[in-house]
């Protein structure tokens, strides 16, 4: 597995609380991504980063924010968690543009919002 870790791996939180998920890589790749995985929807891109402090929105960014203060860490924050944000969250990295479009995934974080 590529050197990608996510923390926490599991979290249960209450509606209205802020939550931060962390993605850490040891590959020194420039591009990083956050996805959510839901039945019937596949993987949907939330936010992505193309460098330190360079981030942009994906297709389902409402209610989420991200930060990248150093190459190895990409943080996803749910500003005020809602039940609709119960999901499995995956982080991914890519060698793009120096490599192909192939992405390498972290182990995922299972988030439950009650």
């Amino acid at each position: 597995d590529a050197g990608i870790t996510q923390s926490p791996r599991h979290k249960v939180t209450e509606t209205g609380t802020p939550v931060t998920l962390r993605c850490h890589q040891t590959e020194n790749h420039r591009y990083m991504y956050w996805y959510r995985q839901d039945p019937g929807h596949g993987l949907r891109l939330i936010h992505y980063s193309y460098g330190v402090k360079d981030t942009d929105k994906g297709e389902v960014s409402d209610g989420y924010s991200v930060s990248r203060s150093k190459t190895e860490d990409f943080l996803l924050t749910l500003e005020s968690a809602t039940s609709s944000q119960t999901s499995v969250y995956f982080c991914a990295i890519s060698e793009f543009p120096s490599g192909s479009y192939e992405q390498y995934f972290g182990p995922g974080t299972r988030l439950t919002v009650t």
């Binding site: 993987l43 193309y50 479009y101």
Partner: protein
Amino acid sequence: AQRVTQPEKLLSVFKGAPVELKCNYSYSGSPELFWYVQYSRQRLQLLLRHISRESIKGFTADLNKGETSFHLKKPFAQEEDSAMYYCAGQGNAGGTSYGKLTFGQGTILTVHP
């Protein structure tokens, strides 16, 4: 927008039977396409990429530009092939794509003994 479509949410076959997971795309030009596999509660991992034209775990996938398809095939399914399979393609046809991938909805393959 570029789209990747997997028409089957569920696919069941018996061990030893051939299996084909369908994927259609709507890219122009020469897209980069991938198949990812996710075994139960594990991370996604790359199974195949069309540019390498290789066979992994007995699976092959051929890019058919005329039909805009990239179906995944295996002649004899095994129980350990049971998993979620995602087809994915580059997110933009050109310009600044930031390496984004567009994923299909996924197909859950179950191989019965």
